[in-house]
Symmetry: C2
Subunit: 350 residues, 2 copies
């Protein structure tokens, strides 16, 4: 465990600011790039991948990431790796990989590189709230900077070459981490999510592809990057998420004003009661109640905590974060005790 | 609804006092009696039963019950009747009966008569805690007093004659309302309850025969009154309940000191969180959480409320009490709202 410092660092993208931040926690733009001189990670030898990592690290040090943390993922223990995955800085797949993966992370965690996962390089920029243009602008600027010292695989007819064809073209994925408890309670969520593919969008769980939905938090992103420009993709996702956010806000107000108000109050205040009283708190339950609390806060109800604290707790209450906090491996029951204590403390419970 | 005053009266038997009151809420001795001049209620005409009621009322007015409430159950509306049943002053069966039932209730509700249920007269004395001797003494004194002006059906060889043969003999049932959450959590409860019949005892739910167990509250009583004296029966029940109370206390201490402490704390503090936060609270859930809270209080843990408040809430949070409080019939959902508000208020929640 060498990443203790991260427990105290501010994750810039969890701040409760930016457009529609009561519904949209964060916006993220990531670019997939590969070096033309090496095979894709799935087909390359470890030595070649170590060389890729060295080259990317060297190129990154000549950009705005010069003060960032440079991590060799294969040199980290499992708590450090899982911590990075819990913070969305590397994928769960890279956290489990034995290959020479890498991560470059700026101090506010709003810019980061992931090296030798599915592609040689995944470059990501995050911004709080719904602000994909800002995230895209920062990702592009870093991409331009780093490209000065790296030779990316690119064909004029196909665009950037990537390991998975869904990333071919711009290599870009624009996504928003959204919180849709109102649409969930009102029973509209499945219908809305089913319609996303028609707009070229997909919805995933909290940790991306193949992860489950917890606490009504979803990642909404473009399905593919082929055939459209970066700007078109960003605009399309931003427009769709803005529409979703408006519907969510509308839905929350209607629930709070309608015949179901007593049920909504019951859900929200019970969530507050549970979070401030439990002594054993599983993560899925914490997510579920933090989601309800977040909704209560957005309605201006007198519940403990604030949006920033809840956004942060969604990260800090995860297993590797709790293990890091206690400085040792912990059992599931110990985790549940530590999580309950952390949540009570952050929510100001006695 | 004419019994609103009862919402504010003190139920003497719910006070947190008397031996073992942390485990034994109350002790109760009831005597079954029938007038020799009339058939048992199951076989008598309404006119005969009205005469029985008049005779019992007249006899009771010449005892220490002269300041009691004298109620004709068939003249009460359904809220009043159910209120009496919820306070254990009449049986659920009498509350539903159309016959000329009666109830005589002293202001502290520690002495009462139920008229024309299964027997012409059921005379009951209650005391807080485990104090069956006191209850028996008060029941006997009232029985002697009232017998001066009534002719009870009695045969020297069989004893008092009763509608059901299990009451034949002394006509007495000594019971204790016990709270056994520790034995429940530790998994010993079923075994202990199964062994009660060997000691001539039976366990029932909160409202007596045929009612279900909620929140680990049980009524323990002698199975039959034939062949033993009043004093022997009272001593046998008191001894068995004392043994049960000691085991329960022992079990609570062991749970609080053992490896399961975190689970126990979680249960108790979550119960407190739920009771002080819920906006919709079904009765069974309220019982369940009040039971856990009561256990936490008995362990000296810093949870809201006190034993007296919890004992009282077990009565006041019931449906007819909530209807009485709001002055009108209420739906199940309205009840849940009123119950949640009452519990929050009594537990001093914001």
């Amino acid at each position: 465990m060498i990443l203790q410092g991260m427990l105290r660092s501010t994750m810039g993208w969890t701040l409760p600011e930016g457009p529609y931040h009561e519904v949209v926690l964060a916006s993220r733009v990531r670019l997939a790039r590969n070096l033309s001189a090496a095979p894709f990670p799935g087909r390359a030898q470890p030595a070649a991948l170590r060389k890729v990592r060295d080259q990317v690290f060297a190129a990154a040090r000549r950009t705005c990431l010069k003060d960032a943390a440079y991590l060799q993922v294969d040199a980290l223990d499992s708590v450090d790796r899982r911590l990075l995955a819990e913070r969305h800085l590397i994928s769960p797949a890279l956290a489990q990989s034995r290959g020479p993966g890498g991560a470059v992370i700026d101090p506010r965690e709003c810019l980061n590189l992931m090296i030798n996962e599915e592609d040689h390089l995944r470059l990501a920029a995050l911004a709080p709230g719904l602000d994909l243009r800002r995230a895209a602008h920062e990702a592009d600027a870093l991409d331009d900077d780093i490209a000065r010292n790296l030779d990316f695989a690119f064909r004029p007819d196909w665009g950037y070459l990537t390991a998975c064809p869904t990333n071919l073209g711009t290599g870009m994925r624009a996504s928003a981490l959204v919180h849709l408890p109102g649409l969930g309670l009102a029973g509209f969520i499945n219908k809305l999510l089913e319609n996303l593919p028609r707009a070229g969008l997909i919805a995933r769980g909290l940790y991306g592809e193949g992860t489950k939905v917890m606490g009504d938090f979803f990642q909404i992103s473009n399905a593919t990057g082929l055939g459209r420009t970066d700007a078109e993709l960003v605009a399309a996702v931003e427009k769709a998420v803005e529409e979703l956010a408006r519907r969510e806000q509308d839905c929350r107000q209607k629930l709070a004003a309608g015949a179901q108000r007593a049920r909504l109050e019951d859900t929200v205040y019970r969530a507050a009661g549970c979070l401030t009283s439990a002594r054993l708190l599983p993560f899925a339950e914490a997510c579920h109640h933090l989601s309800a609390l977040r909704m209560g806060l957005s309605l201006g109800w007198p519940v403990p905590g604030d949006l920033g604290t809840i956004n942060e707790l969604m990260i800090l209450a995860q297993p590797a974060h709790l293990a890091m906090r206690s400085g040792k491996a912990v059992t599931a029951e110990e985790q549940a005790v530590l999580r309950a204590a952390l949540v009570r403390e952050r929510l100001g419970a006695k």
